[in-house]
């Protein structure tokens, strides 16, 4: 692979790896604090799926880069501005409804992305996507069911679920953010056209929101952006400092 395409691939794989890492870390914050035991277990199970995925992806990123960096170097030694995760995933968990809204939008995105990515000409990405798709299907089902329960629930659950949707809406389109480098990967058949997935994504979330008797946000409303350039909200810095604290105090530490 020529160096330009290699850089493009590194960028894209890092994007996916960081998505999983930050999503997993945020979701794990519910451990021991969820509204009831079965949900605590559900969320930590899904967080584990995410962290496992980030290990596979960030290890692959290191291999693509070819400079000997490991998954740990990517996770624990990079600075905020080097992270490429989507803005949605670094947002605080808020209440259960806000977390559900974030995961509803993210799981639907992943479901569509991985369905296409499993056809990638890159063997590792194709293999990863085929595997992750199965896990993400369970995530999607979980999120859909909670949106339906909370939206079509009591007056309070409906209010909270609607607030959750509204609060994180402006970070959703950033999931589909693309770069010029992505185009090279598309031409090689390595990745699908990600922005094109947005139409189907909006259809799927609108369908569930309608069934949940919730208001569907406008796709043309204001959207925050910048994650592909490493421009993040302040929230990422708190995640990164907590997540990296031990590795930074004891450089080179091993379990």
């Amino acid at each position: 692979m020529n160096p330009t395409n290699q850089t493009a691939l590194l960028d894209f794989v890092t994007r996916l790896g960081d998505n999983s890492l930050i999503a997993g870390h945020r979701l794990s914050e519910w451990c021991s604090k969820a509204p009831y035991l079965e949900e605590d277990i559900a969320m930590t199970n899904m967080a584990l799926d995410f962290v496992g995925a980030s290990r596979i992806l960030l290890t692959y990123a290191g291999e693509v880069e070819g400079k000997g960096r490991t998954e740990d170097d990517f996770a624990f030694v990079r600075k905020n501005e080097e992270f490429r995760n989507a803005l949605l995933l670094e947002q605080p968990n808020g209440d259960f409804a806000v977390t559900t809204a974030k995961h509803f939008f993210y799981a639907t995105f992943n479901y569509l992305l991985f369905s296409e990515l499993q056809k990638s000409k890159d063997e590792t990405l194709a293999g990863f996507a085929a595997k992750a798709l199965k896990e993400v299907t369970y995530h999607l089902r979980h999120a859909n069911e909670w949106v339906l329960r909370l939206g079509d629930g009591t007056a309070e659950s409906k209010t909270r679920m609607q607030n959750g949707i509204n609060e994180v809406w402006r970070f959703t389109v950033d999931l589909f953010a693309t770069t010029e480098a992505d185009l090279l990967l598309e031409q090689e058949g390595i990745i699908p056209n990600v922005p094109e997935l947005k139409t189907k994504w909006y259809e799927m979330i609108s369908d569930i929101l309608e069934k949940a008797t919730l208001a569907i946000p406008d796709l043309n409303a204001f959207q925050q952006k910048g994650s592909r350039e490493g421009k993040h909200t302040e929230h990422l810095s708190y995640i990164v400092s907590e997540m990296q604290s031990i590795a930074r105090v004891y450089p080179g530490v091993k379990w």
């Binding site: 199970n45 799926d49 496992g52 199965k134 369970y138 979980h142």
Partner: protein
Amino acid sequence: MGEIYKIATTNNKLPTEIWEILKGVVDPEIPVLTVVDMGVIRDILVTETGIEVSITPTYSGCPAMEVISSDIIATLNRNGYSNITIKSVLSPPWTTDWITDEAKEKLRLYGIAPPEHSSADKNVLFGKPKFVNCPQCKSAQTEMISQFGSTACKALWKCLDCKEPFDYFKCI
């Protein structure tokens, strides 16, 4: 006990021997099953420099995979083989379809309801399995409490007849 390095270039019975040895490596979470029962061992490659065992991870984040890798190396070392490397193969992705029928029976006897449907039926992932029998009393009057259970691969169910909760090994 010294390490004996067995040279394998002319011995093509070696992969079979190793396969038999690996039938003794159990799943650390579900000790009635071996890694061969689970379909986790995909390939055994013997070369002049050593032995490469290819495994396929069950779930992306499954923590048992680390233990399984160490156990494979330790077991082969104990049997006199050295220079073992473990290769993780993502494609084709692991599926519960690879769990053998005997393994499913072992699961049932252990108290875990085995995966009921072929994962090729995509509807399985969007709806509940049509019926799951209680591994204790065999009743079909069972219901799901949570899709996520004690480990990544299991869901939590309960029996409406004998009232016992049980783990269900999810189709994937």
